[in-house]
Point group: C2
Chain length 442, copies 2
Amino acid sequence: MVSPDTSSSPPQGKPVTQVRYELLTLGDELLLGLAANGHLGFIGGELGRRGAGLRRNVTVTDDSEAISRQFRESWAAADVVIITGGLGPTSDDRTREAVAGVLGQKLVFDPGIERTIAELFARFGRVMTPNNLKQAWRFERSDVLANANGTAPGLWVEQDGKVLCMLPGPPNELQPMFIEQVLPRLAKLGLLREREAYVQIRTAGIGESLLETRLQPIFDRAGEDLGIAFCAHAGRVDCRLSSPGDRLGLADLEEIAAECARVLGEDFVCYGHDSLAKVCADFLRAQERTLAVAEAATGGLLANAFADFCGAVKFFAGGCVCCSNDAKMQLLDVPECLLQQHGAVSSECAVAMATGAAEKLGADYALAVTGFTGPCGGTHENPVGTIYIALHAPHGVWSKKLSYPGPRAAVKERAVNTALDWLRRELVRSSRVPPQSARTAG
Amino acid sequence: MVSPDTSSSPPQGKPVTQVRYELLTLGDELLLGLAANGHLGFIGGELGRRGAGLRRNVTVTDDSEAISRQFRESWAAADVVIITGGLGPTSDDRTREAVAGVLGQKLVFDPGIERTIAELFARFGRVMTPNNLKQAWRFERSDVLANANGTAPGLWVEQDGKVLCMLPGPPNELQPMFIEQVLPRLAKLGLLREREAYVQIRTAGIGESLLETRLQPIFDRAGEDLGIAFCAHAGRVDCRLSSPGDRLGLADLEEIAAECARVLGEDFVCYGHDSLAKVCADFLRAQERTLAVAEAATGGLLANAFADFCGAVKFFAGGCVCCSNDAKMQLLDVPECLLQQHGAVSSECAVAMATGAAEKLGADYALAVTGFTGPCGGTHENPVGTIYIALHAPHGVWSKKLSYPGPRAAVKERAVNTALDWLRRELVRSSRVPPQSARTAG
């Protein structure tokens, strides 16, 4: 463990929600938009689930002056600082030196780390170049966090009543290190909870403001101890219930969430983090039903939403992507006269695609999507953003016309989510009917 | 435009590379890991292309004290501050008030914004709740940036020799607003370049170190005025050539890039940012050829790569997503005996899928992908990560076996890119053959 230091005790006695966490993500590639900052989502999510909210994430350039300035500020303001990146062997990694300067610690060469790096290179039959040994330097008063998947170890410092944790940048190295070593260390110091700290309600097909309006009476009854946060995304709105002051327990939050779910009816998707596709997949598995999809407007994204599950073959019969009329006729037996009479962007075509997919692939349910996702295409009657969705079920087939604003990618995402949500509602209803009569109805 | 203000002139005369840009991304949902911070990548990328590097990105919580504190610090340090999020209608959006306090501006109710919001609700047939009118408040001395895709307009302030730009959080609202309104305004003030500041060479199928080795002699001849940056992603490596000291003009950089392209031969994909699918699509259009795809392992992502282009119907005949053996037989006429003898993850199956797709959809070319993307599945002979790709062309059909490390999403992305690159190389070769003989060969 860390060598004793007169000022080394970490922040103690503070409620978890008041521990101030800051995340410093280093790397010019993040600021240039060349790589996504996935660490914020991962680390923020893991801390948030355990009631310890990340207060700030700062991404700065790789130059050592910017790193020093930012770390000095964050170290003064925060109880726990987590730094990602800048531990690698290449010459633009100056993080260790910059941080050591602010901490007032010396860097020491650790023969234990050197051995570990050498062993790793030997195991993969690669040659260790001298710059790899940069990674064997650590702060004089620090712990080493072993890296099972790479050469750069993490570093852990307890000093000035604070914690500093430095982690390597590659996600496959950082993530297991964070889960297996960092979270238990933080929990041991009382800086986060052992288990999840909030209850999430996932909804679909209802806007954020209407959702708030419908749930407000429940929130009002719960009073000021209840913390509420909304997050809207492409037709889906999540609502997180927590108790920032710790006056409501998990059971209280679950009870409030259950009341919300009752009020929301079919607009309620699930508790937690499951995707719409996951919820549909679970229903299909439970009801032993299969699904096929036929796509023009969404180009394969709807198929991918289902094909992405391991073992999808059990409930996902397959999909056809047919942008052209020829493909709709060849793959789905859509009649040529129907296409001539109504056009490919029509309620009739969506229905024929859904039915064709269900028949061709022998599926119980089928979803079809056709439309103009823009920027090209569109007619006076069906301008860009117009989408027709059809749902084929054992007891009938329906279609609906929708209209979405936004660029192509947004229209496609909304169309996929609307199709998934429609299927989900149908599966919710059929799950309430005894299986025997549902089958007969088909 | 903005009302005149004695101190309102923006930073002028500074070289673009020295203009200090800061991005403030607001939202508890980012810090809680509920939503990815895509704004950093998008805005950082757009600024970087025009020679203006983002210096810092700070994500803070939604509470108004944190927003005030952070904006005060950023406003003091930066020339341009861009704020995303916190403009929505729900009660946790307190950004306007916090920012107005730091700017020393009053908030005024703008009836023009109110009208626009009401019209938008009417157009989409939704009910406007009172909290939506929060979005009609703006700073007294600010411009309004129209939002074509949502209710919250952007705001633009020039004050204290600086620029503040506030944008709504949803990407489909923010991105067009940024491209169409913010970039031109910034360019007009001389805060970024009118056009891209570097020349990018896109390569595929060659590793970063080998690429560097092959291009080094060219870089050595160009001398120290040349700036070089590599960025590798899922089988593709980009090389950016710039002139940090501005001593090389665009023509010089383009000449160096052309020399690199000659040395690289087929490993060179394009200049700029076109995707592999875009390059393939352009070849197919030019050669008047069509493509079909058949997917098991990639679940629809390969189809989507082509279907995503406007007018894709001209060259993209369609796609089949068939995870199950039944679907492979029903949609692609893959013989049952072939599946029994070789299995669905085999070179033989990939070839049969490609041929079936080309025949069913009457296409000149077809790509097929089958494999184990993990985490489940895999055999001793074909462990998780094994992918078979087949390419059907007018003059033959081939397959190859590949193996990729990483989680499911990474394996799928690599498989898509490898399939696209294979088709691209084939189309490069056939573009060198006179069309007549190429047709005869088919």
